[in-house]
Symmetry: C2
Subunit: 268 residues, 2 copies
């Protein structure tokens, strides 16, 4: 069995004080992809960085207190790489890849974007370069006979089933037509599988992010923007996918909830 979880922790220092540590201890995952760590390894206590039994790789952003991704795994990776080869994003704390004997696992955090600002252009540059990378990653993995999982916060809801207020968000970053088309290309073009949606074709939801503003969480006015994408061979072994909203997530320690996929596959 291989269990992969992904969660945007919105600041690991804050999350660790509110319930992240307890969640991880109870999670029984094999690989955990983190986004928005917003800290360097040295700023965190050891038991938060890598609790007993875990190996941890981190890719902080050059800009202190921003972004930052990590991969925790019960097995030690045979290699770790930071960034995907685009100099603009290599030190932006947005991509980290860990390789194991039969698996490549990556954590990704897309820029959140904002229409009409340079941040949307940055997001689009990231999207272009990242799609290319994901295509090459599949080729590399196939040549090595490995499966691939790329989990993280994509900051894009794919279809109308992936956010509560889709009508009101058609001109907002995160649900723009070009963003949704790009996400389709990750699936139909690059050949990855959205594990949650493949097991659960019907929406709406389950959502993985709710704004802290207003009563969005209580009203389940959320977005599904955190995904476990898997190579087809691995996705075929998927037996479960869930958003860990409740009851395991009733004490909220991030604005995102963990997303977990379970594969009936002996990864070690």
């Amino acid at each position: 069995m291989l269990t992969v979880s992904t969660v945007n922790v919105n600041g690991l220092r804050a999350a660790a004080k509110k319930g992240y540590v307890e969640w991880l201890a109870a999670a029984e995952a094999d690989v955990v992809c983190l986004q928005e760590v917003r800290a360097e390894r040295e700023q965190l206590p050891d038991h938060v960085v890598a609790p007993d039994g875990w190996h941890a790789a981190f890719a902080p952003a050059a800009d202190k207190g921003r972004a930052g991704v990590g991969v925790l795994s019960r097995a030690e990776p045979t290699s770790v790489r930071v960034g995907f080869g685009d100099p603009e994003f290599d030190t932006s704390g947005r991509y980290l890849e860990c390789e194991y004997d039969s698996l490549i696992a990556a954590s990704v955090y897309l820029p959140s974007g904002e229409v009409g600002t340079p941040r949307q252009a940055e997001k689009e540059r990231f999207m272009g370069a990242f799609l290319l990378h994901l295509t090459r990653l599949r080729q590399r993995a196939e040549a090595a006979g490995k499966e691939v999982v790329v989990a993280g916060d994509y900051n894009i809801a794919h279809t109308e089933a992936d956010l509560k207020n889709w009508k009101g968000n058609q001109t907002n970053s995160g649900f723009l037509p070009e963003e949704r088309e790009w996400f389709s290309r990750l699936l139909d073009g690059a050949g990855y599988v959205d594990v949650q949606r493949s097991l659960q074709p019907e929406g709406p939801g389950p959502y993985s992010w709710w704004s802290y503003r207003g009563k969005a969480f209580d009203n389940d006015a959320g977005w599904r923007i955190d995904y476990v994408l898997a190579s087809p061979g691995l996705a075929a072994k998927a037996v479960e996918a869930r958003v860990e909203r409740a009851p395991s997530y009733d004490k909220r320690w991030s604005d995102h909830a963990p997303v977990t996929a379970v594969f009936d596959w002996p990864w070690l």
Copy 2:
């Protein structure tokens, strides 16, 4: 009876969430001088600014989120003045004076200073101008037949009895020889009385401020830097002075504790 309290709240917004409101409700004071309000009136709910039965005057700093003093009183002041006539400090949120029929009450917050920096020079400029003001204030009050109380955070410990580690602080701002001499001039020169020390000649303490760093509060490693200074006629009526450290202050809502003086004097 006239009861005057002074307290540096270290951010009234934070203090109000931690116990200030309950303290004030139980305090049975007539006049309360606040320092480090660190907010404008509009940033605070009405029940914090002026609970039922209180009148409130505030003098925020031009620099948002810094300094700021206030005077609460059960009687409405007949006049309120902000600053003491020195342009450098008039909008610095460090002095506020309220006049009543038979009393002038002021709240003061001296710059904290730091040896070897411009902040120490600023503190010294404040000290010079403020001593002059206090001298004139006594003259003005005497001419009007009123008593005076000037309460606040002076950021100076007067004698060796006024801080735990006096030996180690002789070259630090707050216990410099020139600061201690200046404080003596407030008493012997301008003719004010340190009410707490007059009622309680023996030290050490009681301290009114403990650093948040380390275990200073638990070890009572504090400083007495918050004072109620009174004109001699009023000071002669003093019947009690206390630092409200415990038990009324066991849930700490500031790094300073309230200092209270009680006068057997019918101020209204």
